[in-house]
């Protein structure tokens, strides 16, 4: 069975251990999540949690309906890729000296990434973009020696103004 990647946006009450409630449910039900991010919203009482999820239709319905049952969840919806923008931030540290620095900079330029730290034998690159773009960038850097990297996980937002489908418990 092929797994489909989805991005789920959840608006939750901004309170003590809200993230553990979400992650406890994910752990208990064995949901296959790729990324999870939490951030503030314009309303200080509400936090947004964005989950990158891989699954089939049944498991997607399960994560939506089970999450909707949590008391802290006010709204939950799937971000339709055709009507949303997704972004992720990558910080990657590469081994780079005078022999290969130029080649790496070339890739950095093509991807419109930024070099934010440079030393004699390494550099740190920053790239913001859709997760696929970041995947592609990292693939291009594969043939050079990477020291470490971190990705923030996907976050996303709908284009335009729209009504969301609510899942009521």
């Amino acid at each position: 069975m092929t797994l489909k990647k989805e991005v789920i946006s959840i608006l939750v009450d901004n309170q003590f251990n809200v993230l553990s409630r979400i992650s406890s449910l994910i752990g208990r039900r064995g949901f296959n999540i790729d990324t999870i991010t939490a951030s503030a919203t314009q309303n200080p009482d509400i936090t947004r949690i964005t989950i990158g999820f891989s699954g089939n239709e049944q498991s997607l319905a399960q994560i939506l309906t089970q999450m909707a049952k949590l008391e802290i969840v006010r709204e939950i919806y799937v971000l339709d890729p055709n009507e949303s923008v997704f972004r992720e931030l990558l910080l990657i540290k590469m081994k780079a000296d005078k022999s290969n620095r130029g080649a790496i900079i070339e890739i950095v330029d093509i991807y419109r990434a930024k070099i934010i730290d440079l030393s004699k034998d390494s550099m740190i690159i920053e790239l913001t973009g859709a997760p696929e773009k970041i995947d592609g960038f990292m693939k291009m850097l594969d043939c050079y020696e990477m020291v470490e990297f971190c990705r923030t996980g996907v976050t996303g937002i709908h284009r335009g103004v729209r009504e969301y489908t609510r899942f009521e418990d």
């Binding site: 003590f16 251990n17 553990s20 409630r21 406890s24 449910l25 752990g27 208990r28 049944q58 319905a61 399960q62 309906t65 089970q66 909707a68 049952k69 949590l70 008391e71 802290i72 899942f167 009521e168 418990d169």
Partner: protein, 553 residues
Amino acid sequence: MKMTGAEMVSELLLEQGVDTVFGYPGGTALNLYDALYEYQGKIRHILTAHEQGAAHAADGYARATGKVGVVMATSGPGACNLVTGIATAFMDSIPMVAITANVADELIGRDAFQEIYITGVTLPITKHNFFVNNIKDLPDAIRQAFRIAQSGRKGPVLVDITKDVTGMMTSFEATGPYPVKELPKSDPDTLLEVAHLINKAKQPIVYYGGGVAASDGGPALRELLEKADMPGAYTIMAAGVLGYEEKRNLGLIGMHGSVTSNKTLDQADLILALGTRFSDRVAQNMKKFGSKATIVQVDIDNSEINKNVIVDKSLVCDVKDFIEKIIPLVDKQERTDWFEKIKKWEDNSYKPVDDDTCLKPHQLIGKICSMTEEDSVYVTDVGQHQIWAAQFIKHIKPKSFITSGGLGTMGFGYGASIGAKIACPEKRVIHITGDGSFHMNMNEACTAVTNNLPIISVIFNNKVLGMVYQWQGVFYNKRYSQTTVERKTDYVKVAEGFGAKGYRASNLAEFEKVFAKALKDEGPVWIECLIDKEEKVLPMIPNGGTVDDMILG
């Protein structure tokens, strides 16, 4: 009005109509219990031997009444001991509010004496929980707890209160309970579609579960089955919803369900699943379950739809509302051919054989039924005796078969019996248990004695941990690992030691004699019934099997 946080808890309980609390005091709960001392004329506190017993008692109280059961415990070990009881209630969707005390807020996170992060521990076994370390939040937390416990699909909620909050003085305003969320109603268009499916089905079956019991949908269900002439089969959580002898009520379904129920469901062309969740004890093979049928699922919990078995049509609504609204839409008809087929399965189904020289489980339960009042409440523990009870109890009224269905908690029965008896003092309460389960929480005998509760515990003593023993016999080549317990417990003496009465029976005549005595005794009674260890729960379908794999002997 000015009062302490602890007094506020008592006031909030009164506001919710709570007059009974089960629990156990302790260091951080001192303020809570000091307030209960003051409110003892209004709130009855039942002290148990162990917090687990208190949690099961609150659960039994809730199951017997439909009201919220309330349990109270101190921090640390007290709160931890509630866990099995809360999980039991959670798995069976029983409304319960657990109030725990925690160490003072300034000590939180410092591994203080008897500190435990109980809101963390109970995250996956509560509908929701609250940590109250600010007195301002206390009234809202308790009112929310009761609202959540009773709203939609019911379940347990825990409120953890720091000790300093219980001692703090503040003003309290009795605004009354929060309204319980309105139950979703059935969608009229889908109702019409389902009615059409029922009308054109040749071989329909209603597979119903705890949701029908929780919504008091029994009478409506009976009417639907009669009008559309459909058979019904139930999960253990719905035992008692319809009468055992009713023609259309085929019996228990699933792993230890009747041959008739399982065959009928397997051959059905329409399965109407009402308030039930296709658990692995029923839909043992989720891919093959009801594979010849169109499946319609009605449940109050959206997340139950397609969770285990993919269905063709679904409604998320109060199941009683669904049944009542579909009755006028279905045709009155007679499905003679279908019931003739069912009768053939019934004629060839498993029937246990009587033997008066020893104690046969079905005869023993038959005898209990013939000697007790029709509105008796039966409480079980978990194991072989539990299934025998579900299979053979002839007269169960709604809310009168109290059993741990989902979690399968051995040791559930005694506490739950105490809760049921406290809730329904006018009703007979019979606790059916096994020697394994009974050993787990028999300490609650002291609670039954202190409160002079005439609960009759019928102990099916086969001297083995019967259900596991049975599986080891059938599937593990009789390698009886740790199930032949060889205990030397003298139940009569132990009962007497607790201040209860104890009897023993090894055949039906002896049982009849002592049971007649027990029915007249005033306090708790134990009756040890000697059962052969080779007695099996039959029929049985192995894990992952279907009706074709059914074992009859």
